[in-house]
Amino acid sequence: MTTFLELLVNGISIGAVYALIALGFVVIFKATEVVNFAHASLLLAGGYLVARLHPLVGFWPALLLGVSAAAVVAALIEFLIIRRANVGSHSVLAIVTIGVDIVLTTELTRQIGTEVLAVGDPWADSVVRVGGITVAETRIVALVTASLLIGAFLLAFKYTGWGVAMRATAEDAETAALMGIRLGRVSLGAWAVAGGLAAVAAVFLCVFPTPGLDRSTSLAAIKAFPAAILGGLDSTTGALVGGLIVGVTEALMSGYQNDLAFLGRGIGDVAPFLVMIVILLIRPAGLFGTKEPARV
């Protein structure tokens, strides 16, 4: 029972981090209808900068720099490439982001090489014991931070002018433009926010008990893709639920790996994708996604 609770808490915490990534992914999709496959490389860029800068300027300034740098890189991708690509189909734009991802990931993994970089967080490897279960402090901080960020984002999405502009654009871009909403700014903002969220997530993907940032970190980030799609690509709620589902499944499957030996080693890494397939078989638009009502 204790093991189960510990796994559950860890799963929820890592799920909250996936939700951060998935949320950025969904925000970009809502604002620009682009499926951003470069998201994993944005995350890697943010995490890399934090890991490289923290010995020089300390953890908090490094985090700030990393987050802003990832936001700027994301905004640049939107401004220099996505906005200028003149293509009919959004699938092609998705492939463009794959091109961006190839370039960024190759260069960053080359810089990282075979190293494992610590992100220098102040929580290190200390643990908390509550009623018999042991949880790493980093996991609690991750959960709290992710919840705060997601809460703040949802409030902003609902009540600020920026959020209204964003929702209007997602609903009907043309009408929104006629109402005086500047579409360019909306999508630039969406990309920047998504980049920043990804950088925060990067830090929490690399803290204890994970050894640190290495070249496989971007693979960990890919698990946020099923989180986004099983919740429904155009739903912020879906991103949160999807993130939690993926996180909990992964933690439980890895934790009970020995009892699931017939499924093979390393089933925890595959589990998010299996869950996604099962959910897509039942609901092709995801759990909270809007079904397109077109029927012929």
Partner: protein, 367 residues
């Protein structure tokens, strides 16, 4: 007429290549052929029908491993059926098709980029299976690939064969097999694209509802194209296994799928020629950069800390994908088609007799 001449020249060149070029070029060329077959398949799905797939590498893996398993003699640790290799190759392609068909409940209902993410599951699930199903796949270390045999002719280094004083090893023999397979694959795909199915696929890509209204069974087409494209992937996998002579699970990862997407974008979405051009570009670039790394500035030898040839190639074609979409919609093939009229115009100017007869005959049709 000039078109026939062109194809005769291409065929003659293909036959001549093994007599003049060494093993490196033959191997590079064979990789390009295998990649071209796979890319044609992906272009049917992504370019012509607008369905993004990140799972193409999975179908290559199914083709490669099915061939190995079916053709290999069983050993103490590894299973095998010991079928005749030609039959095993055909069955392997069918197996890839069946794998695509099993995915069709998802492939037919999701569209565009949604499908792209869903197909990531194939890659991760597939690699998981490859690493763990050791009796079939050989696990981490992979398995040796039995050579192809067709009507008693073995595509391997022994028995020795010398043609016109050129020793014909496995690469030289496979070269002809690869060229034939590629020609067949390209011809078939061209037929699909130019006929009724091709029109239907393009309509689904451009306007799904319109396609449904004019009577195209959209979901059935999506599933069908997915199966067809996975069979192309399977064939590419079989050829790749024959060239590599060993299959390892590590190879069939996400990166390979991304390579294939890069190929069709760089070459030109939705056309067979585009897929072939892109495949040649993407698969030859790392090989060429490795071979000539001393002569090219900014590229270091592998392992020396600088930008290695493989990394340089990835960065180059990643950038190529972006710049093609920004500046060259239609890809390299689109570019070729755009400059061809200028080239023929040049030729006409060189032959003044033709240019004077040209407009006259045309003007006679105008009332």
């Amino acid at each position: 007429m000039s078109r026939i001449l062109f194809w005769v020249a291409v065929a003659a060149l293909t036959v001549a290549v093994p007599f003049y070029l060494d093993g490196f070029w033959l191997q590079t060329g064979l990789f390009a052929m295998s990649a071209a077959i796979g890319a044609i398949g992906l272009n049917l799905l992504t370019g012509a029908t607008g369905q993004l797939s990140m799972g193409h590498a999975f179908f290559l893996a199914v083709g490669a491993y099915a061939y190995v398993f079916l053709a290999a003699e069983p050993t103490r640790t590894l299973g095998g059926l010991g079928l005749p290799p030609a039959l095993a190759a055909v069955l392997a392609v069918l197996a890839a098709g069946v794998a695509g068909g099993l995915f069709s409940p998802i492939a037919s209902r999701l569209k565009g980029a949604y499908l792209g993410i869903a197909t990531l599951a194939l890659i991760f699930g597939g690699q998981h299976a490859l690493f763990n199903a050791e009796p079939v796949t050989g696990g981490f270390n992979g398995r040796a690939v039995p050579p192809m045999e067709l009507f008693g002719f073995v595509f391997a280094d022994s028995p020795e064969l010398v043609l016109l004083q050129v020793p014909f090893g496995s690469l030289e023999r496979l070269w002809f097999l690869g060229a034939l397979l590629l020609a067949g694959a390209a011809f078939f795909a061209r037929g699909v694209l130019r006929g009724r199915p091709g029109r239907a696929m393009n309509t689904i890509r451009d306007h799904e509802i319109a396609a449904g209204v004019i009577g195209v069974p959209v979901t059935r087409y999506r599933a069908g194209v997915f199966v067809l494209s996975s069979m192309y992937g399977g064939l590419a996998g079989v050829l790749l296994a024959l060239v590599f002579q060993r299959t390892v699970p590590e190879y069939f990862g996400v990166l390979l799928s991304l390579d294939y997407l890069a190929m069709i974008v760089i070459g030109g979405l939705g056309s067979v020629t585009g897929a072939v051009i892109g495949a040649v570009f993407v698969s030859m670039l790392p090989q060429l950069l490795t071979r000539y790394s001393d002569a090219i500035p900014l590229i270091a030898a592998p392992g020396s800390g600088g930008v290695s040839p493989a990394e340089a190639a990835r960065i180059l074609y990643g950038a190529a994908v972006v710049s093609v979409v920004l500046f060259l919609p239609g890809g390299l093939y689109g570019l070729l088609r755009k400059i061809r009229p200028h080239l023929t115009g040049l030729r006409l100017r060189l032959a003044p007799s033709k240019i004077s007869s040209g407009p006259q005959t045309r003007s006679s049709h105008v009332p």
